[in-house]
């Protein structure tokens, strides 16, 4: 009862936010450390090190191999190697990619934007489409439209992204010839400005759809359940009782609350989207991180592979941090304490 008006000074409100951020950053650091450890143990399980891989494709004398191993510290015991690895990572030195003849960080920085666009576009599209499908289904729960949407979601949920990708290529690329089916831009077209952007978007449409469908299904099912639950709550009736137009009752009062579980879900899905990007980038020949990881495997470029893992995990950790903060903004009931 006694929540009388005592205005809190700004500094007091800021302090829990900072403490929250500090704690979450520490957690993120622990998680990253564990990821690096896992990374490193996979590396130890690999038969032969990178020098023996390199020597297989070039003529190298035994002395050269020994000196190269010494140069990269590969002759040290594993604990020392872990120390070197961690020390280098702390300076964001991800090692050297022999295949690309460039530092891993440089290679990844070059491929990162493609994956970023792909994943961000997929998150936006799948959240929007999935939510709309879920809301429409919930509004007509039990109707034919609801059944059709549920069936579509069920099929999407069961179809791997590369199968969707192939169906899309077959339909829109091969048969109809509407959209480009490979690469990020039309090679040699030398487009600039808006024409370049339009070309880029055209190249991204099919990959984004292929990556999205599975998540569209997840969000549609979740949004439907969430909307059905929220719509029966009192404040939705209150909104109607005060004469709020129906569209705002659904899309402002109900949906904003129904979206909360979807935001959490979307944060968790980013990790799985990055994994899915490998398949989609490979099928569509996009020069992204996933494609890089795939190539690195066949070229036995372990440094590059682990670099991709590290950067991906870092992105996921950062996204989950952002989602936590976003959640506080979206749901005033969640405090930073």
């Amino acid at each position: 009862m006694a929540d009388a008006a005592v205005p809190r000074p700004a500094a007091d409100r800021l302090r829990p936010a900072l403490r929250f951020l500090g704690r979450r950053l520490l957690q993120a650091l622990i998680v990253m450390l564990l990821v690096v450890l896992l990374n490193f143990s996979v590396l130890q399980l690999a038969p032969g090190d990178m020098i023996s891989v390199l020597s297989g494709s070039s003529d190298m004398t035994a002395e050269q191999m020994v000196s190269l191993r010494a140069q990269y510290g590969l002759d040290q015991p594993w604990l020392a190697r872990l120390g070197i690895y961690l020390f280098n990572l702390a300076q964001f030195d991800l090692g050297y990619s022999f295949r690309n003849a460039a530092p891993v960080a440089t290679v990844i920085a070059e491929r990162f934007p493609t994956t970023l666009i792909l994943v961000v576009a997929s998150v936006i599209v799948s959240l929007t489409v999935g939510t709309l499908m879920g809301v429409v289904a919930a509004r007509r729960a039990g109707s034919l439209a609801d059944l059709v949407l549920l069936a579509v979601a069920l099929v999407f949920y069961a179809t791997p992204s590369f199968v969707i990708a192939i169906v899309l290529i077959l339909t829109f690329g091969v048969t109809l010839g509407w959209l480009p089916i490979g690469g990020l831009v039309t090679v040699g077209a030398g487009l600039t400005g808006w024409a370049w952007l339009a070309d880029l978007v055209a190249h991204l449409i099919l990959p984004v759809i292929a990556l999205c469908t599975f998540y569209v299904a997840i969000y549609a099912r979740l949004a439907r359940a969430s909307m059905l639950e929220v719509s029966s709550l009192d404040y939705v009736r209150t909104a109607r009782a005060k004469g709020v137009p129906e569209w705002r009752v659904v899309y402002v009062h109900a949906l904003r609350n129904a979206l909360l579980p979807l935001v959490t879900m979307a944060g968790l899905q980013v990790s799985s989207l990055i994994g899915g990007a490998i398949l989609v980038e490979t099928v569509f020949g996009l020069p992204g991180m996933g494609r890089t990881a795939y190539d690195a495997i066949f070229e036995r470029d372990t440094n590059l592979l682990l670099g991709v893992m590290f950067v991906s995990a870092l992105c996921v950790v950062l996204v989950s941090l952002v989602v936590d903060l976003l959640y506080v903004l979206l749901d005033p009931r969640v405090s930073l304490e």
Partner: protein, 346 residues
């Protein structure tokens, strides 16, 4: 408040009641009627209490008046609900939406769930004004601040940005009242507005409602199961039992000389009444309200009625009326209490 002049002026011009519910009936399916043959009226500036145990159809009645019934029930609704002569049951959704929140408003039982948890209380009040009065955001918010002050919230300016979970139960209910009052409606329906609150806060909220009503001249329907609340705020009362009206009249008349045995039972079951009856135990009414699908033949109350006679089970009593000049009474009983027997009513 400008509406008091408007309301009283139009009251003089229009002798017709503000709200007239005629032969309202509702059912989930034809075999289980939820509300049967319910009629009552409400004048401008008047407070009508609708009383009964839970499950007797009080809340459904209020939702029917607001035209907020779930679609399956709304489809079954029969009868007329006229606000200022206009039949709400024939209105298009768009017209109803313009009416709700503007000319009729509602206060719900549980203020925590009745408020949107992710919107600030200021925004929720301002929304009504922006929708119905077309006010700008800034103007609507400053009006919201005035309204919060009016319902007795201290330092209203600082509370505008608060979210419902930051307020106490009493404060939240004050917010929902401010929201309902925003457009100075002609009719306000309060559905058990104090049930979810602490006892000490209950009295404050009732006083606030009575005070606001006196100032604005709005009419109020107070849904409650508490006869104490009825006595405190209402002019007239309707007693409902198993989906229908069993007794209606001025509060003072009904409480002192109840005609229907059910009303008498409710009065006897009051704790405060029990003390006066020299140490006798609390008189509860035996049995329970019958389920909609299991309503008895004849008088609905007859299986629980101490005064029941053979004819009570034979047919369902019609509404009897005593026009009685300034204080008309209506009841639905073959053998009313506190009346000269045998009934000359027909």
């Amino acid at each position: 408040m400008t509406s008091s002049t408007r309301a009283s002026a139009s009251a003089e011009a229009l002798p017709a009641p503000l709200l007239a519910v005629t032969s309202l009936a509702l059912d989930a399916d034809p075999s289980s009627p939820l509300i049967e043959d319910l009629s009552f009226t409400l004048d401008r500036g008047e407070t009508l209490a609708i009383v009964g145990e839970s499950g007797c159809g009080k809340s459904l009645t209020s939702l029917a008046v607001m035209q907020l019934l779930p679609t399956n029930l709304a489809r079954s609704a029969r009868g007329k609900i006229r606000l200022d002569g206009e039949d709400l049951t024939r209105m298009k959704p768009r017209q109803l939406q313009r009416l709700r929140g503007d000319r009729m408003a509602m206060i719900f039982q549980e203020p925590l769930t009745a408020l949107n948890p992710v919107m600030s209380v200021g925004a929720q009040i301002a929304e009504v004004l922006r929708d119905h009065r077309g006010l700008s955001r800034a103007v609507a918010l400053s009006r919201a601040e005035t309204l919060l002050g009016m319902v007795g919230i201290p330092d209203p300016g600082a509370r505008l940005g608060d979210h419902p979970h930051q307020l106490s139960g009493g404060m939240r209910q004050r917010v929902t009242i401010a929201m309902a009052m925003a457009c100075e409606p002609d009719l306000i329906i309060a559905d058990e507005p104090t049930t979810a609150l602490d006892v000490t806060v209950q009295a404050q909220i009732l006083r606030l409602l009575a005070d606001l009503q006196a100032r604005s001249g709005m009419a109020m329907i107070m849904i409650t199961h508490d006869l104490g609340v009825v006595r405190q705020v209402a002019d007239r009362m309707v007693v409902m039992y198993a989906g229908t009206m069993v007794e209606e009249g001025r509060v003072a008349d009904v409480l002192t000389r109840p005609h229907h045995p059910y009303t008498a039972g409710l009065i006897a079951a009051r704790p405060s009444g029990a003390f006066k009856q020299d140490g006798r135990k609390l008189n509860d009414i035996p049995g329970m309200v019958p389920a909609p699908s299991a309503r008895p033949a004849g008088c609905l109350f007859q299986p629980r009625c101490a005064q029941a006679r053979p004819d009570c089970a034979a047919a369902r009593p019609e509404v009897a009326e005593d026009a009685g000049g300034t204080a008309p009474r209506r009841w639905r009983c073959f053998h009313p209490l506190n009346r000269p027997e045998p009934g000359e009513e027909s």
